[in-house]
Symmetry: D2
Subunit: 305 residues, 4 copies
């Protein structure tokens, strides 16, 4: 990979825009595109070159980064939709494609294999860390793909993130991310109901949180993201569950986990239960709250009074 | 509390015997009793004085420690069973009773309140850490009871354990312990199914364990007790699930958790599911294995071939 | 059993009062007692003789029927509480005790065995059918106890109920009832989520209810108690979930089921999940609604708007 | 629809072959195709005309019936795979396509809409009733599609089945079938654990089955398919779980249910739990047994001894 590659960035939403901005701040040449011209304009103000189409944005690109909502958008971008051909037919040989969208592993594999037939390189590199991490440049990237492609992508990814993992072959980034997030949902629900059980029996949630944190119940949610209001400062539970990682985004990731489990014929009783509970929580009107708000399903009169 | 109290120790099983031994090693005066005379004899060899009955063992005791299998045994010991009166009518005023059995909070509260009517002091102080921790003197004690009683018990508990928590009022030790262990069971099942989902999709369990450990899926089981064979050395999963914390003991604790949740009308979907899965795992003949063996429920052909 | 036995009826609540009334209507001699004198007065107006205490009400009784809220009340009534002795010491030899309370099987067995030591006969005979069935005399009784005692109780039970089952030995009535009600809760939740899944995918709930009713999804709730509003006339779901069998009563029965399952070390994943969902539904303020209102947990915006 | 339409039948597996045979027995003209020439030969012996390709089998067809394993096969057959075009370009205008495969509703809708653009008619008509029903001509068909197409298909479907339902628009047949089968799985698991809970508490499974059958626990499995061995004659549970509806087929249907629920953002906690339990049961080596064998997960020592 050359020292100052030309980077095309496609998808300038809540996550994509600050990621692209961090590349600019690091002095990279970045050409950007989004279906919303306003989003492109904002990045151009910060020093990016802007493009009016996907065909234009990838011209002479050494690296293409995409950050899109779902698998169907990624597939359409690279392989073409019914209406028109995709980037597969226009990218330069040896171009390195980094898709940071969170999508199903099957689509990532399908796109990657198709691009490979044209001599193009593809890695799936979904992120975690949210808008905060994207802005601060501290995202976690979980990469699936060839070792050499991972090595080549590393210097670029390090401009946007702090922890960069190589999970395995093509699609493994997506699999590892949804396994992690499925487990996270289980930790969050399990911690919530354990805390509420303690409260219902007269214990102070701060005391029991502290005890479990130093015992075998220790987990990431107790360490950094306690779901019970007023146990921990500056976390969503102490700010009326505003900010953070939205219930509807967790629901999306759990949907991907269920699709993956059905395909691989895996049994995931805890993950499936978490998926049903998050779907129910969203149906009850809480989709825009932080995902730690699942705690309120277990407290008395959570939705009434 | 005087500097060298007379301690009575009742219940010299797998846990009680090494706990009493640690008191002896620290130079305390300990009188011991167990229904099995052999168990008493072994401690006497180590310097304890032995007693032939519960009435004899508590004579002149400043502190009574009990380590019994279930709530009914604790209730019978202190309050008396149908056949005979309990220790409540023989203990000296101001005697400090430390019950380290894992029992239901309701029984702990019943016993403690009854003893209080006779001027006796009672704390519930269940432990975690297993036989290993009991032997090494590194147990965790989670105490429920009055602050002064907790303070007075502390020097004695520190001879047997490393982390001593005060969870709250009478019974709170039991509640905090079962909340922690219920959460632990959820962490174990959730981690197992996430790891197997990754494996079923072609990932290396070591790699995905490492990624989740550094991400939001981090939890005690990934840190210290990975359930997938050969990811971590010297844990039960790498020793055919021998040793450690038995499935049937986890099942017992989850039963206590369910009793507690029903009484307090709490909703514990994850804990309840874990309870059903551990009950099923035990029914399939795995009750004597370490509780991380629940991993095998999710792997292919776990019980056949 | 003589042709016109003297019957004592203890507990004249929503269920007990109409049950006692049906005995009176059939021309039986009934002496009644309740802690609320008003409840006694109402039955006296209908021809009962009234008593001012439990000791008075059971004088010369051939048959004692009790209908109380929970196991602790039944145990205290017959075996005595801390304050005073129970009926065990005053009932006439060979008296037949019929307890129709819904309580845990263990308490039923404890009481029955204790009474047997004094030559007294005891059957557990919990009912289903609700206030409507109690009033109409169409209750279902599920009896545990000796065959002869069941035979002797039959003519009395038939004055209050339509279907009388002999489930087995002492306690079996309670076990069979909570097994049935646990299964009922699973049918109700399962049917609710299947109907909502169909609705969410554009189907008419009447059409899909009809199809499942004639297919392998057929169950009691689809036959008689469809939880989706406006599919079936004159059921609680078509009357804003008023009337019927309250969520909090189902929650109580599921609590008994969990206690039973923990004691017998049984695995009940579906029943446990139903218990958690009904507890959650009650926490959200729906405890007084009919239990088919669980359907609303699965429909969009059930608690908001 | 003319009185003696030319019928093409594609897919002569365990289900398709006896279905086609029933059409022949009723005197219909049937041309058949399968990838296995032997399967074609067998039907030709019974009076069918045989074809060597899908293009040949549909020549001059008034009605096309397909019975294939999964959605991808149906899509490839009608819309064409990467290698070659599908039937969409060769079928005669107004031809009525009946797909009786059990597939996801989304694929059924995609295929139906595409065929409609070419003036072709399509209904999804999945069946239940198994090989037994296919052979006896007593299948249940659940149809999605236009009312007129349903009417036109009815005389043909009635030659192969007994109950023919019109569930709604295109795809509704698939949705209704998977809702029914998801509910069936819940009935089966719930009934199994309720029966085992009764057995674990000393009750006779025949007695408790009879009680629940006449009470609010009544459901199709208790009526016709009791999962406990030796309660009911001539059902799979009394024949070592041979025959009937295989665990792996239920697992497939539950996978389709999960896909559907994720797509429509529905919450299906019971169905999801059943899916996880059936996946686990299959992992333990029971995929070829009848689906009522899930009962054995709840009985003691089910896999050991």
């Amino acid at each position: 990979m050359q020292s100052n590659p030309k980077i095309s960035f496609i998808g300038l939403g809540n996550m994509g825009a600050p990621m692209a901005l961090n590349l600019l701040k690091a002095g990279m040449q970045v050409c950007v595109f989004d279906l919303m011209p306003q989003a492109v304009a904002k990045l151009v103000e910060q020093g990016a070159s802007g493009a009016a189409s996907v065909l234009e944005v990838v011209k002479d690109a050494d690296v293409v980064i995409s950050m899109l909502p779902a698998g169907k958008h990624v597939e359409a971008l690279y392989l073409g939709s019914e209406q028109h051909g995709g980037l597969i037919s226009v990218l330069a040989k040896n171009c390195l494609v980094i898709d940071s969208s969170t999508i199903d592993a099957a689509t990532a594999q399908k796109v990657g294999k198709a691009l490979a037939t044209q001599g193009l390189r593809f890695i799936d590199a979904p992120v975690s860390g949210g808008v905060g991490g994207a802005t601060a440049g501290t995202l976690t990237f979980i990469v699936g793909g060839e070792q050499q492609d991972y090595q080549d992508a590393l210097p670029v990814l390090q401009l946007m993130g702090k922890n960069i993992f190589h999970a395995g072959a093509l699609g493994a980034g997506q699999v590892a991310k949804i396994c992690n997030n499925m487990l996270l949902s289980v930790l969050m629900v399990g911690t919530s109901e354990a805390l509420q059980l303690a409260i219902d029996n007269g214990l102070d949630p701060k005391v029991v949180s502290d005890i479990m944190l130093q015992s075998s119940g220790r987990n990431w949610t107790l360490e950094l993201y306690n779901p019970c209001p007023d146990v921990m400062p500056n976390v969503p539970s102490s700010k009326a569950y505003q900010g953070g990682f939205m219930v509807d985004l967790m629901k999306k990731d759990l949907g991907l986990a269920m699709d993956t489990a059905v395909k691989s014929q895996s049994s995931t009783p805890m993950g499936s239960l978490a998926q049903s509970l998050y779907a129910m929580h969203s149906l009850q009107g809480n989709g825009q709250l932080d995902f730690s708000s699942i705690f309120s399903m277990f407290s008395k009169h959570s939705n009434k009074d």
